[in-house]
């Protein structure tokens, strides 16, 4: 019995972030796995207590850097709940639009990182090229291409300039054409299907028990989307249903997770078009935002990777007393040993890439 422990990480091209995966292998088959985090633990919760409420938006952007807008937005929603601030209607629509643009950019980043894991290095170039279009679009109102500091407590920093809707429409049409090409290329590729079909399977009930949320849960056929269930911003006024895929009844494998994210990109584009059409005129920032807050509040949002929840306790000063962040990837990585066992070492990049990890948010 040739069993041994292999460390994959913290420096490994597969890791998508800085963590260590220790797998116990018997020959080539994985018999156990222990993920080890903490290489990126920046103690955001502790230093967040030293900074004022509005200063923490710089820290939240860097929580999950592939999808920065959604984390700042979750934090701002929580602080607005704590302080009792009402955002204007136009700000809610702008937030919805940039959040969906961010979701598409995040899924394209995932695509650009997942395909090289499987050996399809051209996919990296395609993913990066398309993602640059969306980063340029997000740079127009916010000024930043990766970390925006755009969503503020009480609204957004600046209004969308005129001509933004036309640019966004052009970009989305380009992406739709290209996504059709990629579907032809990858869905019918025998090697891609062989590496992702029936690999890394888990059932819907297992996923719910392990705390998996977001696209990873919806790829098992569970139609649970926080933009509908626990709606916020302009989502109550938009018309959509949660997208689900599944390999077979209630089972999620790598291919269904891949398809889930492609389908979510189409859905995001539809949501952006609806929001651009319905957006009202008005202010983009609340009239006054208090400096001090007391009490407790929590809000959860649908991040690109799952359920992001922030819990804030204020003690009457201008700094938080306790700030707790829930990262969807924290629970998914903790559940990963369950759907790694029984597969081969060469399947590890396929499985761990398909759950779209971002270690910045797990390590806080």
């Amino acid at each position: 019995m040739a069993e041994m422990w292999i460390h994959m990480g913290p420096q490994h091209p597969m890791t998508h972030g800085l963590w260590n995966l220790r797998i116990k292998v018997d020959g080539e088959t994985i018999t156990d796995a222990v993920p080890e985090l903490g290489y990126l633990h920046r103690s955001v919760e502790k230093i967040g207590e030293r900074r004022k409420y509005f200063m923490n938006t710089t820290l939240t952007d860097r929580l999950c850097y592939a999808s920065a807008m959604t984390w700042t937005h979750c934090y701002c929603l929580t602080v607005e709940e704590l302080m009792g601030v009402e955002t204007p209607q136009r700000a809610k629509y702008i937030r919805t639009i940039v959040l969906e643009l961010q979701r598409i950019a995040s899924h394209l980043m995932w695509l650009g990182a997942y395909l090289p894991d499987l050996g399809l290095i051209t996919g990296f170039l395609y993913g990066m090229r398309d993602r640059e279009m969306f980063l340029n679009l997000l740079e127009i109102p916010s000024g930043g291409r990766l970390l925006y500091n755009y969503v503020k407590i009480g609204g957004v920093k600046r209004d969308l300039p005129p001509g933004f809707a036309a640019k966004a429409e052009r970009v989305m049409q380009t992406l739709e054409k290209r996504l059709k090409e990629y579907e032809d290329l990858y869905d019918n590729s025998k090697i891609f299907r062989m590496r992702t079909d029936d690999v890394g399977c888990y059932s819907a009930s297992d996923a719910i028990n392990w705390g998996i949320t977001g696209p990873n849960l919806r790829s098992a056929g569970v139609a649970f989307d926080l933009r509908q269930a626990d709606s916020y911003d302009a989502y109550p006024e938009l018309d959509f249903t949660p997208v689900t895929t599944s390999a077979s009844d209630g089972i999620s494998d790598c291919f269904s997770r891949y398809r889930q994210r492609i389908d979510e990109m189409y859905q995001s584009m539809d949501l952006i078009r609806q929001a651009l059409a319905k957006m009202p005129e008005g202010k983009v920032m609340a009239d006054s935002v208090p400096v001090r807050a007391s009490g407790e509040a929590f809000r959860r949002t649908e991040d690109s990777r799952g359920e992001a929840l922030m819990y804030l306790v204020g003690d009457g000063t201008d700094r938080p007393y306790r700030w707790k962040i829930r990262s969807p990837m924290f629970t998914t990585v903790s559940a990963s040993p369950h759907f790694l066992k029984g597969y081969k070492v060469a399947d590890v990049p396929a499985i761990m890439g398909s759950i779209d990890m971002c270690i910045g948010e797990t390590d806080k």
């Binding site: 719910i208 269930a229 407790e296 924290f330």
Partner: protein
Amino acid sequence: METGKFIQQLGKHKGTSNSSALRSNVGCISVTREASPAFFTALKEDYAFDHCSLISAVDNQSGFELVYHFSIIGESGQMLEVHVDLPRDTPTIDSITHLWGGADWHEREAYDLMGIYFIGHPDLKRVLLPDGFAGHPLRKDYVYEIHEEEW
């Protein structure tokens, strides 16, 4: 079931207090530490809360407080916030890993950063900090050196 009604029903359990509705789909309740195992079992089995969203540990200087957030995976998005107070000198509580597998690492993180010990947890050790780290940093009495003069 509507939040107001089910909060009332929850309030009938032993050891609960301060039940209220925070938002239209969010309820809030406090439970004593002794009554918490039975309460959590009832939440999972009778009220079908199948997702443990978050376990936060708060250091109120007179004691610790654990704040649990549970939710139902379904269209209603029903959530419940449970507060449990723990004494400062014995911050221990029964683990809920046997009910919700997703609570596993949340409890490890609460142990790692705040020092709350979960009885019955399968593998309670540090998850974010290195193994040899001394102390629980998120406590209010944790003091560390900040090199302000070098900045």
